[in-house]
Amino acid sequence: MARESSDEELMLRYGDGDARAFEALYHRHRGPVYRFLLRQTADSAVAEELFQDVWMRVVDSRGRYEIRAKFTSWMYTIAHNRLMDFYRANGRATFLNQEESEAALENAPGGEIPADLRLDGKRAAERLLAAISELPAAQREAFLLQQEGDMSLEEIAGATGVNRETVKSRLRYAFAKLRATLGKAS
């Protein structure tokens, strides 16, 4: 069985004119990128516009693409930058200054996910999505990049322009708040 090409190989092949390589790359990442943008903007029209723009930038960058990092890190960096533009254009630049203190984290409510919610997958998913939407944007972004982009702390830090510890902190806040919201909801 032939080895599946990596994202980077596909992007390089696309750079050499192989349109099928791009199709493979697109189908591999279209869902995660779209959901990342949809969850961040909470507006399907905006998400579609940003999604298309991100992929067009990938298309336009095909000649300049060099393997310096994972393809996903590079692509989500583009997505993050487009989101920043969107936030700035809509007066939501406070996204950049939404760090919480370690003390606040200590006091954050944690908890177990209720058993009945675990059994009802559909309801649990709805509750989780509602909880994600209530997260501060920076924490939500870190969570989504980890879940949708399957990115490490370093990769998230690189894509969002912060240090590793900040990402770690954001994720811990996000988990705690999500659990707390799900526990309350039950």
Binding site: G17, Y26, V59, R62, G63, R179
Partner: protein
């Protein structure tokens, strides 16, 4: 690694991942990607060319400079030779340089009074003539290029060098110092040979001398030869 990852939340989240972009967005993106893929080659090669362009330009400049320098040095001996020739030619042209008409007319009374009070000018003129002849000889030996020139070319040059005498002004006869010896030598040569060496002015002076000496047939023959050779030359009144 100590990365925070909540497996239970991740499992729950995976159940939500059903949303996907609309088909029309897929179509638009893929169409754009196909258009771009077929439109141009990967510019990484262009990047390679771009990276190499500066060294290539430098190498081309060095090569060009070297070639030009080499050509200059190779041409230098020829240029020196040509310069020497030009210097000689310059002296020649200075000797052949036509006397301006104003100077001719200014000199006319001086020449008329020459017999009474001979000045140094005729001697200088003779010296210049001698120099010129010497230069002509040396030039003929040193400059094969000039020797290769066709007769019409040289005649045309002589025509250019020779001023048309101003109406009313008299072309002076040769000085006394040019005397009979010169004329005698002239008479012994063929007209063709003479015409190669003499300027039109000199030729006319010789014709005048022949007339003065009473050698009218010879003078007429020379004059006819002169007219044949320089049909455009405006003859002085005394020879018309």
């Amino acid at each position: 690694m100590n990365e925070p990852r909540d497996q239970e939340l991740s499992r729950l989240y995976r159940e939500t991942v059903t949303l996907e972009p609309p088909q029309r967005i897929d179509d638009a993106v893929l169409a754009a990607s196909r258009r771009t893929a077929g439109s141009r080659p990967r510019p990484v090669r262009a990047g390679l060319v771009r990276r190499l362009s500066a060294p290539m330009a430098l190498a081309a400049t060095v090569l060009l400079t070297f070639t030009v320098t080499l050509m200059v040095f190779q041409d230098a001996p020829e240029a020196d030779k040509a310069q020497t020739g030009m210097r000689a030619g310059g002296a020649d042209s200075r000797a052949e340089k036509p006397v301006p008409a104003e100077a001719n007319s200014a000199r006319a009374p001086q020449a008329e009074s020459r017999r009474d009070a001979p000045s140094t000018q005729p001697r200088e003129a003779t010296d210049a003539l001698g120099k010129r002849q010497g230069l002509q000889e040396s030039q003929e030996s040193q400059e094969p290029r000039r020797a290769r020139e066709s007769e019409p070319t040289r005649a045309a040059r002589a025509m250019q060098a020779a001023p048309y005498p101003r109406a009313g002004s008299r072309q002076e006869a040769p000085s006394d110092l040019q005397g009979a010896g010169v004329v005698g030598a002239f008479a012994g040569r063929s007209a063709a040979d003479e015409s190669k060496e003499r300027s039109p002015e000199k030729w006319l002076e010789d014709i005048r001398k022949l007339k003065t000496q009473g050698k009218t047939p010879e003078a007429e023959r020379e004059l006819a030869e002169f007219k044949k050779r320089y049909p455009e030359y405006r003859l002085p009144e005394d020879l018309r």
